[in-house]
C-alpha cells in the first residue's frame, strides 16, 4: 500500500469514526426527548414503573448498604492515620460526613447500581430486541420507548437519590463504628462533628443546605444517565446473544465514565455558584 493510499484510508476511518460518534450522540439525545415526552403524555405504565422501582431500588439495596458501610469505615480508618499526627482525630466525623454526602455516597451508589441494575436494563432490552420482542411491541401499536424506557427512567430518577441517602447514612454509621471502637471517640462527639460540617456549609435560598443540593441533586442526574444510557445500548442491540453481551458491557462502561465526568462538572458548578 502506498503512502497516499494509507493516508486516504486513515482519513476515511477517522471520518467514519467521528461521524459514528456524532450520530450516536444525536440518537442519544433524540431518545432523551422521546423519553421526556413519554413521561408527561399518555399512555402511562404504572405497573411497569413499580416493577422497575423494585428492580432498581429494593434489589440494589443490599449492595448499596455494603458499599456505604465499608466506605465509611475505610474513610475513618485512612483519615485517622493522618489526623492522629496532628491530634485532630476529633474531626473524623467532619471528614467522613462531608466525603460521604458530597461525593462518595452519590458516586459509589451510582456505580454500584449501574453495575447491577443498569447492566440488567441493557441486557433485558437487548435480549428483547434480538428476539424480536421489541418489534412485536411495535406491531401491536405500542411504542417501545413508552413501555420499556420511560418506566425505567422514572424509576431510576426516584430510586437513585433514595439509595444514595441510605448509602450516606450507612457510611456515616460505618465511620462511627471505627471512631468509637478503634479511635476511642464518643458517639456524641462524632455525630456532632458530622452535623457541624453538613449544617455549616452554607444554604441555598437561605433554607436548603448546599450539601443537600449536592447529595440529592447529583443522584438524580446519575439516575437519568444510568437509565438513559443503559436503555440506549439495549435498544440498539444487534447480533444475537453476543450483541447483548456487547451492549451490556458498553452500557456499564459508558455510564460509569459519564457519571464520573458529570460529577466533576456538577461539583465545579456547585463550587462556583453555591459556595
Amino acid at each position: 500500500m502506498s503512502e497516499a493510499s494509507a493516508r486516504r484510508t486513515a482519513f476515511r476511518l477517522t471520518r467514519d469514526a467521528v461521524l459514528g460518534v456524532a450520530l450516536a450522540v444525536q440518537e442519544y439525545f433524540a431518545l432523551l426527548v422521546r423519553v421526556l415526552r413519554a413521561c408527561f403524555t399518555r399512555p402511562f405504565y404504572p405497573g411497569d414503573l413499580v416493577q422497575q422501582m423494585d428492580t432498581i431500588g429494593v434489589a440494589s439495596l443490599f449492595i448499596v448498604v455494603l458499599t456505604g458501610f465499608f466506605t465509611g469505615m475505610v474513610l475513618a480508618l485512612q483519615s485517622a492515620v493522618e489526623m492522629e499526627q496532628f491530634g485532630a482525630t476529633i474531626y473524623i466525623g467532619r471528614l467522613v460526613g462531608a466525603s460521604a454526602v458530597r461525593e462518595l455516597g452519590p458516586v459509589l451508589t451510582a456505580l454500584m447500581v449501574t453495575g447491577r441494575a443498569g447492566a440488567g436494563m441493557a441486557a433485558a432490552i437487548g435480549a428483547m430486541k434480538v428476539t424480536e420482542q421489541v418489534d412485536a411491541l411495535r406491531t401491536m401499536g405500542v411504542d417501545p420507548v413508552r413501555k420499556l424506557v420511560a418506566p425505567r427512567f422514572i424509576a431510576a430518577l426516584i430510586m437513585m437519590p433514595l439509595l444514595t441517602v441510605v448509602a450516606d447514612l450507612i457510611a456515616i454509621f460505618g465511620g462511627l463504628l471505627i471512631a468509637v471502637l478503634k479511635l476511642g471517640l464518643t458517639a456524641d462527639l462524632y455525630m456532632r462533628s458530622v452535623y457541624t460540617t453538613l449544617a455549616d456549609n452554607g444554604f441555598v435560598f437561605q433554607y436548603i443546605p448546599v450539601d443537600l443540593v449536592q447529595g440529592l441533586g447529583k443522584p438524580i442526574v446519575f439516575g437519568a444517565i444510568m437509565a438513559l444510557t443503559s436503555c440506549y445500548y439495549g435498544i440498539r442491540t444487534e447480533g444475537g446473544t453476543e450483541g447483548v453481551g456487547r451492549s451490556t458491557t458498553q452500557a456499564v462502561v459508558t455510564t460509569s465514565i459519564l457519571v464520573l465526568a458529570s460529577d466533576y462538572f456538577m461539583t465545579q458548578l456547585i463550587i462556583v455558584f453555591l459556595l
Binding site: 428476539t131 411495535r138 401491536m140 401499536g141
Partner: protein
C-alpha cells in the same frame, strides 16, 4: 367474527404493494415489488434465503421505510401516514414472528391478553373469556397453558400461542414470518391447518413468508416467488408448477 366470504374477489385489495423499492445504501434489496392480497386469500411469499421475503412484511408494518412505492393497507398508504395513524393501521394487523417473539417475562395469559389491555376497554372477565376462546381456537387447552411462561412451552405450542396473540383482537390482516421453520413435520402440518382454519373461519387476509414449498402448496391461494429483489412469479400454486420460467422450475424441482 368474519366478514362475508362471498365478497372476497369483489373487494379491493386489503394489502397492496405498488412498485415498492428498498435499498440500504447502494444495495438494492427490493426492486419494484407489486403484490395484491384480499380478504379470504393467503399469499405465500417464497424464495431463497436473504432475498427480502421477511423485509416485505416489515415494510407492510412500516418497521422499515420503503425507498419508493406505495404500501396500501385497506386503501391507506402506510408509508405516508402520521405516526399515530401507523399505530392505528398496525392494530388492523397481527404478526406471527419467526421466533414467536413471545414476551419472556409474561405468562401465556398475559402474552395473549396484551393487545386487549393495550387497545380495548374490556373488563377483566371479558378479556379472560376472550383469551380462553382464542387459545381453544389454536387447539391449546387453556387450563393447561394459561399460567405457563414461554420458556416452558414446546416450539409448536409457542407458535400457536403467538398465533393466538396475533388474532386475539380480531385483525383482518395476518402476517406470518416463517411460521413452520424449525418444527417437525407433524407440528408443521398442525400450523398449516391452523392457517387454513383462520382463512376459512375468520376470512382473514394472510401473507405467509416461507421457504417450505410443501407447506406453501397446502395453504396458499396465491404464491409469489422472489429472486434477486424482484417477483419473478405470481400466481396460484398450480400455475407455479406449470410455469416455464427457469428459476421457478429450479425452485420447485
Amino acid at each position: 367474527m368474519a366478514d362475508d366470504p362471498e365478497s372476497t374477489h369483489l373487494s379491493p385489495a386489503t394489502v397492496s404493494l405498488h412498485d415498492v423499492w428498498l435499498a440500504f445504501g447502494d444495495h438494492e434489496v427490493l426492486r419494484g415489488i407489486s403484490l395484491d392480497v384480499r380478504r379470504g386469500e393467503t399469499l405465500c411469499i417464497l424464495g431463497g434465503s436473504g432475498v427480502g421475503k421477511s423485509t416485505i412484511l416489515r415494510l407492510i408494518l412500516r418497521l422499515l421505510h420503503a425507498t419508493a412505492g406505495d404500501v396500501l393497507i385497506e386503501g391507506r398508504d402506510i408509508t405516508t401516514v402520521s405516526h399515530d395513524d401507523v399505530l392505528e393501521l398496525r392494530e388492523r394487523m397481527g404478526m406471527v414472528f419467526q421466533g414467536s417473539a413471545l414476551f419472556d417475562s409474561l405468562s401465556v395469559r398475559d402474552n395473549v391478553s396484551f393487545p386487549l389491555y393495550e387497545h380495548t376497554r374490556q373488563t377483566e372477565d371479558e378479556i379472560d373469556a376472550r383469551v380462553r376462546q382464542v387459545l381453544s381456537f389454536v387447539d391449546l387447552e387453556p387450563e393447561d397453558v394459561l399460567e405457563l411462561l414461554p420458556a416452558e412451552l414446546s416450539g409448536g405450542m409457542r407458535k400457536r400461542v403467538a398465533i393466538a396473540r396475533a388474532i386475539v383482537h380480531e385483525p383482518p390482516i395476518l402476517l406470518f414470518d416463517e411460521p413452520t421453520s424449525g418444527l417437525d413435520p407433524i407440528t408443521t402440518r398442525t400450523i398449516d391447518d391452523l392457517i387454513l382454519k383462520l382463512r376459512h373461519e375468520l376470512n382473514v387476509c394472510s401473507i405467509v413468508v416461507t421457504h417450505d414449498l410443501a407447506s406453501a402448496n397446502r395453504i396458499a391461494t396465491e404464491s409469489a416467488l422472489l429472486f434477486d429483489g424482484e417477483v419473478i412469479f405470481n400466481g396460484t400454486p398450480e400455475e407455479m408448477y406449470a410455469s416455464e420460467v427457469e428459476y421457478v422450475q429450479a425452485f420447485i424441482a
